[in-house]
Assembly symmetry: D2
Homo-oligomer: 426 residues x 4
């Protein structure tokens, strides 16, 4: 009978939902319940989650502390939806975010609520950078992923989704990311284009980048590279925008992914795990001197999703001391170790490891790219939710929640190894 | 002490939130609680809500039926966030939406979850229309409002937000809306541009429109005009996209705003009240023959917001019979009557009434545009939340929740009249 | 043997020239000699020329006065090519043009040599208008023709040549020309789009127009319409650009086509007959206050074609008194009379007359469009060179040289009537 | 009295010509006569010409052979202007060009007459490449110069002229030219961008390049680089366009500049010296399989400038044997030798030599860029016309006519050396 429900649901998706659906194809089941790093489908099968809602569930599924607060709030008829009207929840978040996150890091930003999605914070960042500088061009990087609406898509690298635009994507220039060329001379290249008045690249309003490229292949920029980019931004009076939608909120081991590089972006984009319960929320952080918006110049109906803001306030408690960050950093080492052993144990993959923190991947080598998808499919059969990344889906990407314990990590990686073995023995 | 809290919150907004905030300026207080058609601020002051979250709260604040379901779901650790993976909640919504909404109206659409905001459904509609036709141009209308991301913004009329883009907005052509010219010859005009191969308007992929323009001044298109547009779309093989983000979900008295016109759009955009609890959700309805998406060609982290989908499923019960729709239609007449009386009673405004259903407005006449903002500001002081609309904020716009009762309507309109009197006697 | 030469040349065109050639298809012969309003092909066949090099030969083929001067100049090794270096020829032209053309008309313009083609003067006009205003949008009109390079093409109406761009044409808006709508309410439309801040048409840098649309169907704007456009330009601080490439240099009976309308454009584009011998030349006239070019900001190798400038100086003698203009105006009446009689005599064409001066046409009626091409083809067989115009080639267009005599006009129109009769009797 | 004429002419330029003029500022005099490699101003002063009309006078000023033919043609009332109608002159050119130029080089191209300027042939090349491939993006190179109309400008590198567009320049990507990076790894960069589906550079329609960049600094690509580019074009199914407007027509020592590299472009753009008398003409050569134009899809009034075509036919005689080419190659060595000696003799310039054939330059080193303009200004005073090139005008550029004799070269270089000495001794 349960099986019937599963089958019926699958038919409903096939008959009534658009062909655009994707994860329901990678993970072909019907989920019903979730807690921490585990999910269960309608047949009761348990899954270890190394995907964490594409990085939107850094604090695990249905985090108990947040859950309690949300239920209370709903029960008391707290304001659910208020656009950008003043609410108690909104004030508290702004206060706490400033105290817990910004001030201890010596950061001074105005907080903008641009609409509750990653693409919305990116679009708002592009707008304000163009307004501040009066210039049009934005420099982004190879294999960047910034979103699906026309502005964000124009700075996204993937050719399939770019073509989906149906119109040319303009006013942007793609430059080589730190890891794009083997010789790592990407900074010299960028510098030449900026310094030569005849280069054909118009002086940009801003440079936007992810410190670790989540969708583009778990490419992690070196701190030196990030510092060099910041220097170029200062020299040429361009704004530096860090899209920390996936790499932020602790995923790399610090709240902001750029902290260990010692740089200070002019604009920061946050979304995914900023709410911490998988509730849609995004914020854009803007240096006060650049906060020259006219009221309502960028808006959106769901920019004031109070339940999400309430959750976002609650999870700030993880960042009051450095205990949580340190635990993430510790577990990151364990993840790296397991990945390196896999690379060593399965030379057939000709793989290498990549990334940092809770954003690491095993990149299958040239000519071995298809292993990526095969391994993830096999792992799913065995009860592990894990996704690929990269232009050829060649990277097996770990993106588990930061709250996962060692047992969970072990179990997940054990399944992953089994999957690899089976794929290779096929 | 409460006053202090209010003052402190206001300071927090001023110091820590971006200058972009707008409604917190129109309604300068700090809200704490809401129920049905009422809101309360931290001082305990009660407000009648004629704004309903810009149309995202058609079923009132914190609707009891939905509230119970959400709490249960959270308590049972139902899946909160799942991108577009299969979940029980998702399957149920698709099934129920088909049964309750589509089939009784003889409509056949595939449902796409494009990301949880209005602008996201619009961007997805533009993409698929361009993909289906292989053409670039989109025709939109004067005073249209479709969203703030680059694609949606390019079909939005308002010059202030357009300028916010910081880059030229391209591949779109603005045509006169039904009510734009006094002579109402907008169809002939559009037709001439399409039929003349030398007109300079390239054959478009699609025409996108709101049947009632919510932000652009509560302009309501006649049914004849909508039918003429549909005919042009068929004749010139263009897709017809109805952006029903604000006018849909019952706001005009039927579930879809285009029902009484007897037309069948190729694509329908829904958001705002589709979830019914102010939770971020959007869906794009696409005729099956046009659902030619590649998997993942348009995506977004928060496209599977299960709490919102659960709420959306629950509020479908309002549409199982025609009782609710009829009550909305009845109350609409009352709204119209009150507005017409106001127009009559205050000839100094040189006003006219506009709109249909729960989307009606009082448009102050030429030279009297500033009364719009003054009246709304005064009404707020007196405990009524009501907003302006139109290029010069000249329209006082009623956008209350559909579940408001007659007493609520009466009380709200009484306050509005008092506000008008005071403004005029100033 | 002559026939063989003809045949061989035709083969050469077919085998070695690109498929893009067009007039060699409309007029399938090989021309060898020309004088005044006559041309001869290699077989010795004589043709009356009602086409005048698409309006580049206003003073007839191989005008004797100019011819003598050019030969002298070449014989004396005068500077042929000098970019924009100072030459005697250049100085004399500037001096004479100011004295003979500008001063008597109370016009004050700086003269720019933008490269020797119509499209080049138009591109230069768009650039300076955008630089002066800091805005991007240019308003052009339905059925406009301004040129084939990307900037000019973006303000050209014809869908076939627009599609040839291979990229979307942007930053332009097409508005209805005076004659586009039957009700002639085009000014009201344009005005509404400009006055309504929500119209979706961004405030333009400039309006560009032809007073008579040569390629778009010999549509002549009324003087009232031109005056209304000028007023709108002043009210909204937009520049008014008159593209007088085809209608200027006397073609409509005055040197500038806009003189009888009493308007003063901010920028005027001249080419085609400005040199008067069919030699490539173009000039852009710019009000001194808008001449804010940086040196070399627009350039081009052939902008200083001294032979053409010499010719241009020589033909100014036609404009020293009003004798020539008056003769053109007289002959224009005769042309109109002949055309009206044709319309009357051949009701099967359901035709109407159009245009003014030496730029008039017979427009075949709805459903009769194909007659246009058939008549011109038949006329060519009979020794008359005449072309069609309009989006459906429905207009038989007279564009003879201004120096043609009455006998020439008579003979040409006689051939035209014969051709019409034969086509209708077919 | 002569001096007065000079002064008066200068006043006329200042008062009546646009500020956009540039060469009349570099060479502040009024020219009257020219022959071979010499020019004279109105005061009778003689100048050696190392500029040759920016490369439009490869066969010298007022070439005797051509001069005679033109005078004859004019005297006989040959067709001056005919758009693209068939003329005897046009047929003869097509025949001769095929016989003398194309066939001996095993090249098979259709000839298009796109309008008489360099920018026009470039715009036509972009259009046909986009039409053939159905793609939009064009790859051009750093410091490229292709023209001033919107399409050509979008692939031109110089930031000042780009900004002159007044709108964003789109659908193009600038890649590093062979000489742009010190490490010469530009091919690897380009290759990575093409091979990586996530690079953010959409698959281009074509690559366009100059084999020697005339305006961008006399940068000469190596033959290996050109061959590598051709290979990439084949591998990725992109068209290869060579803009040979300045480097073609013998300037580098062979008729086409790309001959010694052994590559076969899909499209070739020619202008400047194609007519050989400084008369405006341009042609686009297109492989027959790509000549898919619709008739008239690209056009232009002056595309059939018969006097220029006649001249173009006449100068083909220089290419009937290899005598002329060899003499150019011999003299090129002498030019190189003189330049290298200058570099050696004046180490203060920290200069290097660049270029090939009759397109060579002395590039002043880092920090010494301003010497370029100073030297040219001083040389002009002393009777030598020579221009700078490069993003900072740092290159002293030799661009003399190919027919100059050794005495002329010697005299010119002697003046140049004197100028350098005086500048350095200042």
């Amino acid at each position: 009978m349960v099986l019937t429900m599963e089958r019926k649901a699958m038919e409903i998706f096939e008959n009534h939902e658009s062909q655009v659906r994707s994860y329901s194809r990678s993970f072909p089941t019907v989920f019903e319940k979730a807690k921490g790093y585990k999910m269960w489908d309608t047949t009761g099968k348990e899954y270890i989650d190394f995907f964490a809602g594409a990085g939107a569930l850094n604090y695990g599924h249905n985090n108990e502390k947040v859950k309690k607060k949300i239920i209370e709030y709903i029960q008391e008829d707290g304001i659910a939806h208020s656009l950008d009207m003043g609410t108690v929840v909104r004030a508290k978040f702004l206060e706490r975010f400033t105290e817990v996150i910004l001030q201890p890091r010596n950061l001074n930003y105005k907080v903008m609520f641009p609409g509750p999605t990653g693409t919305n914070t990116v679009e708002s960042a592009l707008k304000i950078a163009r307004k501040v500088t009066g210039r049009q061009t934005i420099i982004s990087f190879t294999n960047a992923f910034h979103g699906m609406t026309l502005g964000s898509l124009s700075i996204t690298g993937n050719s399939t989704v770019r073509q989906g635009a149906g119109v040319p994507l303009t006013n942007t220039v793609a430059m080589p990311y730190d890891t794009f060329m083997q010789d790592h001379h990407s900074i010299e290249y960028l510098e030449r284009f900026l310094e030569d008045a005849g280069s054909g690249v118009d002086l940009p309003a801003a440079i936007i980048l992810e410190t670790v490229q989540g969708e583009g292949g778990i490419n992690a920029a070196s701190f030196e590279w990030l510092q060099a980019i910041e220097k170029l931004c200062h020299r040429y009076d361009m704004l530096l925008i860090i899209d920390d939608v996936q790499a932020g909120c602790g995923r790399t081991g610090t709240f902001f992914s750029f902290e260990p590089a010692g740089i200070t972006p002019d604009i920061v984009c946050l979304s995914k795990s900023i709410s911490g319960y998988g509730l849609p929320l995004a914020i854009t952080l803007i240096k006060p001197e650049y906060d020259i918006w006219a009221p309502g110049e960028h808006n959106g109906t769901f920019r004031g999703n109070n339940m999400a803001i309430l959750a976002a306030t609650e999870v700030l408690s993880y960042w009051e001391t450095d205990v949580f960050a340190k635990s993430v950093q510790e577990k990151s080492k364990m993840i790296k170790a397991r990945m390196e052993k896999i690379v060593e144990n399965y030379p057939e993959l000709q793989a290498t490891t990549r990334g940092r923190g809770f954003m690491q991947g095993i990149a299958c080598g040239k000519g071995k790219e298809t292993y990526g998808s095969e391994i993830c499919a096999k792992a799913f059969e065995k009860g592990l939710i894990i996704e690929t990344s990269g232009p050829d889906s060649e990277v097996v990407k770990f993106l588990g929640s930061l709250t996962i314990d060692e047992a969970g990590l072990d179990k997940g990686f054990d399944i992953l190894e089994e999957a690899i073995q089976e794929v290779l023995n096929k």
